[in-house]
Amino acid sequence: MEPVAVTGRSAARLVVVVALFVVVQETVAIKLRIAGIHPELMLLVPIAAGTAAGPREGAIAGFVAGIAIDLLLPTPFGLTALVGCLTGVGVGRVTGSLTREIPWFSGLVAFTASAGAVILYAVLGAVLGQEQFLRVDLVALVLVVAVTNAVLAPFGMRIVRWALGPAAHPRSAAGSSW
């Protein structure tokens, strides 16, 4: 099936959804700490977009979500956008060739992609001179972020799917188990 372009309406809805994710991340999620680590809900945006609509939409959603949260983080500006972009592309490419009939598909994708994104973020940060990113407890960080995103993936995917509108339908209609 031919990919459907992201319309202006979809783009506006994506901006609204990203703003909602930013508010929830910065007010609720950062207070929910497990072993001192809080969930990283913003990663759900590129993961959901990549799964629902493909690598291009995943990249766009990851960039928008990343640059939005980068505005409020003390980390290098643009780093979350880069990681979000690459995560969206990666998820879009990998899930495009997978069957969606398996149970907990969205949770498995979110778990794996979140784990990869956390490690990628730490490594890229270190490459950019932030060696302290590798001094955090990466195992705990990966586990907390991956598990919380896996649990919340069905909700996140529904919201992002709504935001993308027609662009999300070609792939999600083909037997998605959301």
Partner: protein, 269 residues
């Protein structure tokens, strides 16, 4: 997709470059100023709800804590009589310090700030406070509270700021310790929640567990002298090593910060 990746890299380059960092810093400052009232509003709605649930779940511990607070209050009232004597002692100590030309913090102006969040990133040990440039808080200023040095202001918006804690992996604090503060070391942060390492402690240096370390005002240090920073928790001497292995814990209880003071001090150029 390639365009977005290149755009991200361009933004990072702008942020990392010394000449253009002020552009991204200004954008972040504006975003922080816009988001602060939203955060306060949402927290104002959600916090009471959270407190209701927390109170219901932890009712027994809340009652116990209340009893402990009443006990503490009673002790403070008993100690009140002795306060006059202690104040006289404090005045004498301050005079003594001044006579010895030792710096002490009471001479420096401070800004009282409340912690608003315990850090918005998992990759760095930071806290957010509710005072910013309009309140006299600026990048590089030391932050104290809860018994010692807390960290340094690393980002300041108009009405909020971010403090990087001494435990952060990027933190380095020059300290003095020992009799007459004769010995120096550099405390190296090892990441959130972990002990700090005291570097450059020569083999044979008399250092013992429980020993306190204070900021020194040697040339190039980014803190004023005399601020209590940490205490020694472990000392290992490895034969043949070029330095002692010294682990320290921050004196400030970084997990229980509510209010902090930003010291309006900047290092000499």
């Amino acid at each position: 997709m390639l365009i977005l990746v290149l755009l991200s890299l361009s933004v990072i380059t702008l942020d990392q470059s010394g000449r253009t960092h002020h552009i991204t810093s200004g954008i972040k400052s504006l975003a922080s100023d816009i988001f602060s009232p939203i955060r306060s509003g949402v927290n104002g709605i959600l916090d009471p709800i959270g407190n209701v649930f927390a109170g219901a779940v932890h009712y027994d511990s809340v009652v116990k804590e209340n009893h402990e607070l009443q006990l503490t209050l009673g002790r403070i009232r008993l100690q009140d009589d002795a306060r006059g004597f202690q104040l006289r002692q404090l005045t004498q100590l301050q005079r003594l310090l001044a006579e010895n030309h030792l710096p002490y913090l009471q001479q420096l102006p401070t800004v009282l700030a409340e912690q608003t969040d315990a850090g918005s990133t998992n990759y760095a040990a930071t806290i957010d406070i509710d005072k910013g440039r309009d309140d006299g808080v600026d990048v590089g200023m030391p932050v104290i509270g809860a018994g010692g040095l807390v960290g340094t202001v690393t980002f300041a918006a108009h009405h909020s700021a971010t403090v990087t804690l001494v435990t952060d992996g990027s933190s380095k604090v020059g300290v003095s310790f020992g009799s007459g503060n004769a010995y120096t070391a550099t405390l190296d942060g090892q990441g959130p929640g972990r002990s700090l390492n005291a570097d450059f402690v020569a083999p044979g240096t008399p250092v013992r567990r429980g020993e306190r370390m204070y900021t020194n005002d040697l040339a190039g240090n980014i803190f004023p002298g005399g601020i209590p920073v940490a205490y020694v928790t472990a000392v290992h001497t490895t034969p043949g090593a070029s330095q002692e292995t010294v682990e320290v814990q921050p004196l400030a209880d970084l997990g229980a910060l509510a209010y902090v003071e930003v010291v309006q001090w900047s290092p000499s150029p």
